[in-house]
Amino acid sequence: MRWVLVAAMVIATVLGDLLQSHEMKRAGEQSVSMHGFARLLHTIARRRLLILGVSCNVVSFFAFMALVQTEPLSFAVPASSSSFVLETLLAKFVLHERLGARRIAGALAVLGGVVLVGG
């Protein structure tokens, strides 16, 4: 069950990140002042893909809540890094990017780390 929750969390995170990264690049610079947060919320409300991205974050968040209910935090948070592995696979097989040796080594290190953390 723990790995099902990790998978749900990671898939939702990657989808959310993709949508957010795409939309925020178009929205321009944001700040963290009270006014900045208000403007950020306004930006989210105006952009539909950003709303979808945030919805993915909600799913990911619920999966994380369920995960930490039964599993230790020292497993749940490091396990969420599997998103790097999924992103690398997507870059290779969906976006047909040419991956450098460094990127592949990094993704393999993360994968190895997740296996060790879960073992």
Binding site: Q20, S21, M24, A27, G28, E29, Q30, S31, V32, G36, F37, L40, N57, F61, F62, F64, M65, A66, V68, Q69, T70, P72, L73, S74, F75, A76, V77, P78, S81, F84, E87, T88, G100, R102, R103, A105, G106, A107, L108, A109, V110, L111, G112, G113, V114, V115, L116, V117, G118, G119
Partner: protein, 150 residues
């Protein structure tokens, strides 16, 4: 304002304002603190919730009535907004590796505050993840190269 593309010194890039770098690091520190507080409060609170979570969203909303879970939700939501702001200030190739230290912090918090048993294997795993995230994060990307100051 210029984006922070890494740890390059401002002398080599005089067009960078030191204020932008300071702002980026302040936002980064704020993000890591929110994550640490949010994760710990969430893990502590969720273990007190008697009902097991399932596919039903109402269970999650009810769990948020626990004060620790509520603190966790607020802190992690603010962390999410702060991370979005960080993406607007700095490149992904800077944000990914520097925020990856959060994986190691989470293991530390689990051990110290939540009294979790952390084996040597788990520590090694967390460090390997950190190293891997740094490697993945510092891979140059064509999309960000185009935005670098010349």
């Amino acid at each position: 304002m210029k984006k922070v593309t890494g740890l390059s010194n401002p002398v080599a890039h005089p067009q960078w304002r030191s204020g932008a770098v300071l702002k980026t690091y302040s936002v980064l520190l704020f993000f890591l603190t929110l994550k640490a507080v949010g994760n710990s409060a969430m893990a502590w609170g969720m273990k007190q919730v008697p009902e097991r979570m399932s596919i039903n969203p109402a269970l999650y909303l009810r769990a948020m009535l626990n004060p620790f879970v509520a603190i966790g939700v607020v802190a992690l939501m603010l962390a999410l907004l702060t991370r979005m702001a960080l993406f607007s200030l700095a490149d992904l190739s800077f944000v990914l590796p520097v925020t990856a230290v959060g994986y190691v912090i989470a293991v530390f918090l689990g051990k110290v505050f939540l009294h979790e048993t952390v084996t040597r294997q788990r520590w090694l795993g967390a460090l390997l993840i950190f190293a891997g995230a740094v490697l993945v994060g510092t891979t140059s990307r064509n999309t960000t190269l185009a935005e670098r100051p010349r």
